[in-house]
Amino acid sequence: MAIEGAAARPAVSASVGRSARRDLLALLNRWGWVKVLLFLVPACLLLTFYLVIPIAMLIVMSFYRSTLFGVVPDFSWNNYLHFWRNPMFPNLLLRSIRLAVTVTAISLLVSYPFAYFLARGTRRFRTTLLILVMVPFWTSYLIRTMSWLPILGIKGVVNYSLMTLQIVSNPVEVFLFNQFSVVLTLIHIYLPYMVVPIYLSLDRLDGRLLEAASDLGANPLRTFWHVTLPLSLPGVVGGIVMVFIAAFGAYVTPKLLGGSSGIMFGNVLADQYSGTFNWPFGAVLALIMIAVVLGLLVVASRFTRLDAVFGARA
């Protein structure tokens, strides 16, 4: 049963009509870079307006001066000097960094075993467990911050329990409106930021590597130290970076829960645009914040390839 027509058919089939489409596709195939350019233009355009130009404006504004009538160009380093001269600002910067480091460190300690539990545990409820981790992740951090108010306040759950259990007779103020509440809340709301990257890198870990280590004589502890930990490093670094940046850049949490002793860098920054209206100085503070973050990235990139951590193909 031969198929008719095989001998009579011309090799390159003629297409009917649609010549414009053909020409366009032929053009795009000939000049591949046109297609790439076309596809990237929208994103690049957007990011120019979202990222590039705004940061340039920050730099420009940092050389202006704030007067009664608005901002005028200054072309001097006055704003920067203002930062250094008043010890309050560098101290605040250091304190914020310290708080962020504390949050990150504790978050890492708390999250790693949890991520391990998720990744190496039974697969049965894994999806449910992951969803349960993601739900807080997908809820606004504003709400999650706010949710600590009823717990930590003088009329809050903690005090209520303490008084009911008669451990104290008067409400204790130490839980709220200080650095403790800020750190605690920041750990809470950014926990998923640490858990997820570590989970992903642990999940990717091939169990057979652990078996091989065991086969070669390593007990569970040494297997963890020599195999699991190093291979989960990209996730750990990714988590550290994400949590630190979130904690260091915090505004809502310290404002809501920090009282006067829990103020962080972000609050003073934001104040320059509402209360004090010193836009140029605020720009300096913003640039310092960005510089700290970029500094962290540079350090982190020595430990792992950050492009791979943040996703997309390497």
Partner: protein, 259 residues
């Protein structure tokens, strides 16, 4: 460290972490039914009145509508732009590392500094802040890297020989995309859009600096926190948590469909 003991320890530990994660949220939800004027204890009895008050609160509805609109528009624009960029990265081209770094940079710049910088930009341009103008730029920029990463990852897993087969059988590039590529990655794209919507819906800090007189829901909550602190706030928060929960489930179902 025996395996059994280690497992039990990890399970207990895991449970403890979940308790830590959820206690504040659960408290929030419980206290939204509190028949008392404070957002915290003591417990005054069960009531629906805060939800009723919410339902009658006009300004909340307006804010909700704004958040939904903004979220929808953001999701669509962000997914299209981010999706196109992800497709661009299937080919190799000069400077691709630099472009990818720029695309991922918004991940690491603190939202507060972006908000401030955008304020400067729009002020300098003389653009008046508006929901679907200045705020939209902030939201699309914010969600773009997330969408880009999600769609890129999905594309990376895509079997290119399917596209070659389609072309081999007579489908040109455009037809191949619609008939083969798009149907197969569609759940991933919708999932990314859903995620972008959620990010936009919850976004606060950049919105604070780029929004004018309008309110989104988080902005309204923020201003309410300053003044009227009552369980109505808890009710609002509870509804938002419920919505997030629903969205996560929807996202997971989509991902499950892909397998």
């Amino acid at each position: 460290m025996t395996d059994g003991r280690a497992r039990s320890f990890l399970r207990i530990y895991g449970a403890a972490v979940y308790v830590f994660l959820y206690t504040p949220i659960v408290m929030l939800i419980v206290l939204s039914f509190n028949d008392s004027n404070s957002i915290t204890l003591p417990w005054g009895g069960f009531t629906w009145r805060w939800y009723r008050a919410l339902a009658e609160n006009q300004s909340v509805f307006v804010s909700l509508k704004n958040s939904l609109t903004l979220g929808l528009v953001t999701a669509v624009i962000s997914t299209v732009i981010g999706g196109l960029a992800a497709f661009a990265f299937r080919s190799r081209f000069r400077g691709q590392v630099a472009v990818m770094r720029m695309l991922l940079l918004p991940f690491v710049i603190p939202g507060l500094t972006i908000g401030v910088a955008l304020l400067l930009l729009f002020h300098a341009l003389g653009v008046r802040p508006g929901l679907l103008t200045t705020t939209l730029v902030a939201h699309v920029g914010f969600t773009l890297p997330y969408v880009f990463v999600l769609i890129s990852t999905r594309l990376h897993r895509f079997d290119e020989s399917l596209e070659e087969a389609a072309m081999d059988l007579g489908a040109d590039e455009i037809t191949t995309f619609w008939q083969v590529t798009f149907p197969l990655i569609r759940p991933g794209i919708v999932g990314s859009a859903l995620f972008a919507f959620t990010l936009s819906f919850d976004e606060f800090i950049r919105t604070l600096f780029t929004i004018g007189n309008d309110n989104t829901l988080p902005i309204q909550i923020w201003s309410t926190l300053g003044s009227m602190v009552s369980p109505e706030l808890n009710a609002m928060a509870t509804l938002i948590v419920a919505a997030s929960f629903a969205l996560v489930i929807a996202g997971e179902l989509l991902r499950g469909r892909e397998r």
